[in-house]
Amino acid sequence: MKKPVLEIKDLRTSFNIKGEYYAAVDGVTLTVHENEVVAIVGESGCGKSALALSIMGLHDRKNTKLDGQVNFGDENLLTVSRSRLNKVRGKDIGMIFQDPMTALNPLATVGRQIEEPMDYHMKLSASEKKKRTLELLRRVGIKNEQRVYEQYPHELSGGMRQRVVIAIALACDPLLLLADEPTTALDVTIQAQILDLMKELQNQMKTGIILITHDLGVVAEMADRVVVMYAGEVVEIAEVKELFENPLHPYTRSLLNSIPSNMQAKQKLHVIEGIVPSIQNLDREGCRFAPRVDWIPEEDHEKNPEMHEAAPNHFVRCTCYKTFYFPEDRVGENEYVATNS
């Protein structure tokens, strides 16, 4: 059994909107082990990024309330002091951000920005820092590292900048990497390169990775385990192979059904009607996905949906997965019957 690196227990992140707190992450429990890539998937607004920022304590403290536990090592990161948190950030946990165009300080050289976390977490001389930085740049696939070291972010392409962002996250050999949509802002060819790089680095460094994405292709390529989130809750957790072969929750099945594929070339693409409700308008009673699958009778949902272990290590929320079907499948059957008779 692998050692857990990070254990999140019943994490609830609430934002203050006009004096009231609304939970964007609503009772998430999740474990990440050594050398494991856990992908968190879901639509925009389902709480994925809020979850990542909560782990690092990067939300605006004044307007955010954090409950539950984020256990890292033998500490709960939600209750440690600010200075202690700063010792963990950048050293034990590295973070890769979504948009490399804005994630770097425009006024500092690449070298300076990679060396910065070393200033706080490692006792190195200036020349040692530079040596390490050049090595990191090489490791993230930058060939003319001497030149890039001196350059400013605006002189680099998006793909190069994302490599720099990754180098920053890796600067102090973290135990855990948080990658918040690391390829979303890049174009497709660069996406593939960055994913390959991350996989390669993960194989070398044996870090745990939390990979946040809405791209199921990325999930299939990178993840060991998948966590599907909807409206702030985890609705399904399974090994990646199991999830793609045997998706259970209606939301997971809808997501997978919305991917264009060769197999269904003549079929209409499935559309999940509606949007994720905003955190103020979310009905927190009952199954949260119910309004978007309104053809499923109410009694098929649980009153207080719980996680059920449907198969070994495969967890799913609510009971509605048992009877769920896609209406277009039934319509197709009916038409078939009609034309035959």
């Binding site: 690092m56 973070m95 300080n105 006024l107 706080y120 605006h154 920053i168």
Partner: protein
């Protein structure tokens, strides 16, 4: 870099020519000229005499001839004679340039001394009581006309309390070069500088505050925090560098703006500077002085703009030109 500065300087030449042309034509279009200004209401001056004087000063020549004559000399630093003061315009201005430059320089320093700490406090601790206080000050000062505030300062600190002199630039009884002379100058500068700075700083405070609020939500700040950079350093190393950049770049405009904009302050504090000379000369239709002053302040603005561009190109790597 040198090439950029050179090119930026060359662009100034057509700007200055255009500026001088516009100033000259506008000045000519003003009703009356130096002669009517000087002899207005003098019953002893006959129309023939006036016409003679006009002829003597070349005021009857076509405007482009007059312009050529004026600009040709101006380039060599000769702006002609002041009609009313009966001395070369250059001498007249030179005697006052120092006063205005001192006033503007200290005002600019004061503006930044007030704006930078207040802007940082308000921007970093948004919605705190300190921020609310600073924002209130901003709104009040923004709505207060400079001349009203300056008069109030004069009334309180010069008239009621008697801490500072009413006006002038130095006590004329004191010999120049002595320590007392410096003290006297400082005392005379204090009220005009403080009045102009307390009112003039609000734009910079507001700008800095808003820019910090803007910067602190940017992704690169999250990156800095995720590196474990302590909060204070996040501000000093990351946010402030980005926020102070436009303010540093604005320095050029600010100082030249103050030089050409000191009319109110100098008039209220009877401070012998260019602004006061300007207002007096307009009243007297002292054409040569007015055009010279407008040309100088116009040039100051053009040079200030160039200075700002150059400063910005030095501090911001994104527009550094190879």
């Amino acid at each position: 870099m040198l090439k950029f500065i050179l090119r930026r300087t060359l662009i100034m030449i057509p700007q200055l020519i255009l500026l001088s042309l516009v100033i000259f034509v506008l000045a000519k279009a003003m009703p009356g000229d130096a002669v009517t200004g000087a002899f207005m209401g003098n019953p002893d001056a006959t129309p023939e005499q006036i016409e003679k004087i006009r002829e003597k000063f070349g005021l009857n020549d076509p405007w482009y001839v007059q312009y050529g004559r004026w600009i040709g000399k101006a380039v060599k630093g000769d702006f002609g004679q002041s009609y009313t003061h009966q001395q070369p315009v250059t001498t007249l201005i030179a005697g006052r340039v120092e006063n205005t430059v001192l006033l503007s320089l200290f005002t600019a320093i004061m503006i930044y001394l007030i704006a930078i700490p207040l802007g940082i406090v308000a921007g970093r601790w948004t919605d705190s009581w300190a921020d609310k206080l600073i924002v209130t000050y901003n709104y009040v000062a923004f709505a207060t006309p400079l001349f009203v505030f300056a008069l109030l300062m004069l009334f309180i600190f010069a008239f009621l309390l008697g801490w500072f002199p009413y006006g002038g630039s130095v006590d004329i009884r004191i010999e120049s070069g002595t320590w007392d002379y410096v003290v006297s100058r400082a005392k005379h500068l204090f009220l005009p500088v403080m009045s102009a700075a307390i009112i003039g700083t609000v734009g910079t405070i507001q700008y800095l505050r808003n820019d910090i609020i803007d910067q602190k939500n940017k992704d690169y700040v999250k990156t800095a925090r995720s590196k474990g950079v302590p909060e204070g350093r996040v501000y000093t190393r990351h946010i402030l560098r980005n926020s102070l950049l436009p303010i540093a770049a604005f320095l050029g405009y600010e100082i030249t703006g103050l030089i050409s904009g000191s009319v109110f302050i100098e008039t209220i504090f009877s401070y012998q500077g260019l602004g006061q000379l300007f207002i007096q000369s307009i009243g007297l239709r002292d054409f040569t002085v007015v055009t010279a002053l407008v040309l100088i302040s116009g040039t100051a603005v053009v040079v200030g703009t160039m200075l700002s561009d150059i400063i910005l190109s030095i501090v911001d790597p994104r527009i550094r030109i190879e």
